[in-house]
Amino acid sequence: MKIHEYQARSLFESAGIPVARAGIAQTPSEARAVAEKLGVPVAVKAQVHVGGRGKAGGVKLANTPSEVETAAREILGMKIKGSTVRTVLVMEKVDIAQELYLGMVFDRDHRGYTVIASSAGGIDIEEVSAKTPEKIHRVFVHPVQGFSPHQAREVAFRLGVPKKASLEIARTLVLLHRVFVQTDATLAEINPYVVRPDETTVAIDAKMNFDDNALFRQKSVESMRDTGEEEPLEVEAKNADLAYVHLGGDIGIIGNGAGLVMTTLDVVTAAGGKPANFLDIGGSSSPEKVRRAMEIVLKEPGLRVIFINVFGGITRCDDVANGLVQVFKKMNVPSPIVIRMTGTNVDQGMKILNDSGLNLKTFPTMQAAAKEAARLAKP
């Protein structure tokens, strides 16, 4: 799960990390009021989950309260990579001697975490990693042993900043680790973290992502979810306990099991089709789940065909087929439906589908079904 910069900033602030003074606004006049309280000049920053907002014109400097109002008017309502800006963060302008990158990520390959610090702040860390890897310093953090201040100092002293600043940075890294672990984060990033001319330091950006599996015990994190930033159908599917990914093509895909659905997308793509979505109804395939899945897929704009791919295991193919027929008889499905089924009692299952009187196209192999789905999707 992702959150906005202003939300991550407040988590950092509560953890004791120095952050630039700031406030949020939903209207230009609120933005002006925040700026008047903070004192100008300020930066007005669009709050969206996608990256690259600076390049898109979503961050503006303002020197007077009326400039703040103008900047906020321009940014609010702006579309950045499909996200509409509904909130801006108005932040004091900080004097900068040096910009750094500080971050911590879940490190899957080493089954732990990695703290990352770089003297090249303010730019995309992956770009730094590709072009000037010598400017990136990493330290592995053991999930049980934790992260000691001396480990933080070791990284901080490698950044080539004044000693006073290094000690502050080490303290920030320790606090970043603490908030990361306490909130079940998978990423915490400050880019840039600023060294001021007087050698004090401050965060002027904040980013955090979280482990979806841990949200059951992170209610305050979950309350920060902004569903306006997520695909509406993905939100609806999540509420129905289905795994859904919007992909934008015209062939709706439903299957049981993540690996099988992923493979279905691959086969459809190889056949020249464009999947509209990924939808996993789970290992079993109850009629109720199929019905909910159909309701969501049918909302995909531009849908031309539905391709259902089911493996009948403990729930045998004949049971799955009976469930499908029961669902389709009650629903008015405007798009053609292609079904591929395999597993236990596949012949009985196919017979049930073919004898149902419904307009279902059944195939024994994924490849043949995918080819037909791609053909039907052609305008």
């Binding site: 899957r108 390959d109 999930p143 599996n213 099988l260 997308l265």
Partner: protein, 292 residues
């Protein structure tokens, strides 16, 4: 022979009084698995309808009373990490965790607390382990399998069934099929299981079913060419068309920072001499063809 589970497996079901636990306990017993005890804290001394299996409050009691040597976990995600640690503390050597949705931090802790110990963890978020004809531990449909000499290791559930079913239909039986799980942090990776198959005289070849995300397939490829190997490997990778940055159902199936793409995995596997099927229907033929 086979790996991990066989006729000597004496199994505990953690969460046996729950809906999934009781259903699958029955399925496993019907398959012939020796389910010796169940555990649900607070339900010790009770019975599960229609099951002739004693229920205990703790794994330790179950191990002592029934000489169990393996455990399968069907408890909710919030309690699963502790369930694994409880089995480990009670001396169980093999723990298979079916539960989906366990927080990453919980599995990191479990992994590091138990690393280097005399215990094998399979999963979480997996279908389990089956040695056809001998023992089934998990949620897979037993009757699609057939005893034989091909091992299967997979990050997937139904996709594995699909492939196993195709193997069985083609007359190719399996020694042991292991679902390693779809999470980013799992107990046993491909590289933990391949050496066990290599050491099993009754396994000739292994079908490796991978997917986008992580580097477990690349590690498996490197293991394969590190020394001469007796077993042959055939692979399949799901997610060739998956977009970056999107979690494709499994928590671990995500291309992040440009890493973990199916294309890279397929290239690496092929560079290490492992044939990769471009679709699942080719797998039986590839298995028949691999030089052995």
């Amino acid at each position: 022979m086979s790996i991990l589970v066989d006729s000597r497996t004496r199994l505990i079901v953690q969460g046996i009084t729950g809906r999934d636990g009781s259903f699958h306990a029955r399925q496993m017993i019907d398959y012939g698995t020796n389910v010796v005890a169940g555990v649900t804290p607070g339900k010790g001394g009770t019975r599960v309808d229609g099951l002739d299996v004693p229920v205990f409050d703790t794994v330790r009691e179950a191990v002592e009373a029934a000489q169990a040597n393996a455990s399968v976990i069907y408890v909710p995600a919030s309690a699963s990490a502790d369930a694994i640690l409880e089995s480990a503390d009670a001396g169980v050597q093999l723990v298979i965790c079916i539960t989906e949705g366990i927080p990453v931090n919980d599995m990191l802790r479990v992994h590091h607390l138990l690393a280097g110990g005399n215990i094998t963890i399979v999963g979480p978020n997996c279908p389990g382990v089956i040695s056809p004809g001998k023992c089934k531990v998990g949620i897979m449909p037993g009757f699609i399998h057939k005893p034989g000499r091909v091992g299967v290791v997979s990050r997937s559930g139904t996709l594995t069934y699909e492939i196993v079913y195709a193997l069985t239909q083609a007359g190719i039986g399996q020694s042991t099929c292991v679902g390693v799980g779809g999470d980013p942090v799992i107990g046993s990776k491909f590289t933990d299981l391949l050496p066990k198959f290599e050491a099993d005289p009754d396994t000739d070849a292994v079908v490796l079913v991978g997917e986008i995300g992580g580097a477990d397939e690349e590690e498996a490829a490197a293991w394969y060419t590190r020394s001469p190997r007796r077993i042959r490997i055939v692979a399949f990778i799901a997610g060739v068309s998956a977009p970056p940055g999107k979690r494709m159902g499994h928590a671990g199936a995500i291309i992040s920072g440009g890493k973990g793409t199916a294309k890279d995995k397929i290239e690496t596997l092929m560079n290490h001499g492992i044939p990769v099927a471009s679709d699942t229907s080719q797998i039986p033929d590839l298995v028949k063809k691999v030089p052995g």
